[in-house]
Symmetry: C2
Amino acid sequence: MLEPTPLDERKQQILKAVVSDYTVTGVPVGSQVLAAKYFIALSSATIRNELADLVGTGYLHQPHTSAGRIPTDRGYRYFVDFLMEPEAASATARRTVKQEFETAPRSVDGILEKAAMVLSQVTENVSLVTAPEVSESRIKHIDLVSLEPQSVLIILVLEGNLIKQQVVHLERATTQDDLSRMAAMLNQKVKGQTAEELAVRLDELGPEKAEQRRIIERLIDSITTHQAQRQTVVLHDGVRNLLRHPEFVEVSRLEELMELLEQGAQLAGILQQVAFEKDVEIIIGRENTSSGLRECSLVLTTYKMADRVRGTIGVIGPTRMHYGQVVARVRLVSHATSEVLAHLGN
Amino acid sequence: MLEPTPLDERKQQILKAVVSDYTVTGVPVGSQVLAAKYFIALSSATIRNELADLVGTGYLHQPHTSAGRIPTDRGYRYFVDFLMEPEAASATARRTVKQEFETAPRSVDGILEKAAMVLSQVTENVSLVTAPEVSESRIKHIDLVSLEPQSVLIILVLEGNLIKQQVVHLERATTQDDLSRMAAMLNQKVKGQTAEELAVRLDELGPEKAEQRRIIERLIDSITTHQAQRQTVVLHDGVRNLLRHPEFVEVSRLEELMELLEQGAQLAGILQQVAFEKDVEIIIGRENTSSGLRECSLVLTTYKMADRVRGTIGVIGPTRMHYGQVVARVRLVSHATSEVLAHLGN
DNA sequence: TTTAGCACTCGGTGATCGAGACTGCCAACC
DNA sequence: GGTTGGCAGTCTCGATCACCGAGTGCTAAA
């Protein structure tokens, strides 16, 4: 990593102009274009000198000697950290989001699916949405259904009408009547608690309720393992948008990315590692640990439910993207999602 | 459409050889290659005459005057209908399928997801799996959860531990106790029936149970509409496999296909129209009504649960595919899926 | 009916060339 | 010292061209 060379005002403006122009045109930006479009007071020769400096300090890249300049990952980073101006989401984007969420189903799953769909549509990139952690969700209702004498289907209704199921096997045969009674009893006790809290308070049940206790243990166990292996669920949508970007005419670039998207687990790991120091976190190109994302950027934020941060929402796109606009729209959809989730009740 | 020209034995063999060779190499097949690899007794000139005939009758295509021959959709059709020899799935494929299904979760959703994953893996194409129709599924258990005084979450446990949920609003406030009693009552009556049957037998409830009746009506209604708008669910997996096929180096071909896959609804419509005259149905290239599938083939079959056909499973791939092998593997995964679903109990 | 031979066609490859786009550098200028 | 005009140099891209080779269609003979 190069040491953080401070950039004087004019270099900053030139870097900003290069990023802005390149994200729109996709063509390396030359000194003449810059002089004509952005710096009428300066000659192209002056700009050439500055550009040479910016290449030297690693903010810009020159594909070949007689080409214009392209921002490096470092250039983009400087841009988003210091130069990018806050943008507001366009009226059309806002309208789209509003309309789509009006027809969203009233369940967490459905809303998150919708969010993924809308986000990919308004950003023209691939959207990512992680589901809330089950173990942190409040339990609203428990139901026990007898499948076979020694086999029980546990149904958990969590806040936001998120439903989780698990089949467990019992040592002893139990009738549906017994199960119904146990479920009624459990519903009294568990209401509004999270699975984590439940695990802590397990001892409150007297030792005489051995079978109940076993079911609860299995239940908590299932939630925990559920989270560990399956909470890797990352919804995504909009791969078709990616195909329109010229950076993906080479299918080979898509291949690694598709693998990442379809397998999910690795992607979930990446998303979980994101430390949200600001409200929107941007990861650019090689800053990504995963090789499939070498030439992509992630723009991520969180969404809330019941006033707590519950998941990540954002997009993957080529490093050459209109960051200001994407940030505005990711934020827009995140807020809209939180809003709709809030109205689900808890 | 050309009239069905009958092909003599030798023309059939040549067509078969062209299809076989082309599906492996991907290169237009010339008369010399055919003579050397498949017809040592014949000279290339003889084969040239036959090839010219096959082009004339529309079974083969010649990209340009000095190129070899490629099967047309018609050629592939003739091949799969009359020439293709039944193949058995390879031992590796069988092993993969077996291993993967051993670790499958014990729910319909999980199993179908797994099926999609495995199928795409063993065929190296995109897999498609439709979920069972909710309205045809037997109801195992009903649960009613009070969300707000006038708002109820209906949970349906269907055969195969498939869980469906729906929020309905009631005209009158109802307590959880009331709901629990109603649920208990309903469970006595509905067990083992399908939603369709339930709709028919609705009258059996006396008129005195007006509120119950209303809830049940809403419930049946929700199941039916659920099916109408959302049963468009088509799982898919393995887009990454498609990228490896040389026919998709042009991303433009992928674009329409991805749209079809991500939107789902249109695809569901296509799959529902398939008339399964044989156990495996093959749709080749332009036989597809959808333009996005002009250069793709579908190999489809059904899977069963509780001895009834419940859904479609199959793959999308380039028209140039090893049909015999794909058919064998689609069939393999279909059988394995039905098998695992059977063990879920009902 | 099959086959050998032959002229012909056409796509693909590689080389060459020129135009165009930019640059870097230098010398002059403010 | 920073800025600028001028200019030679570099590199990509697209067009053109020739050539090779694969493969064909046709003809005449077996």
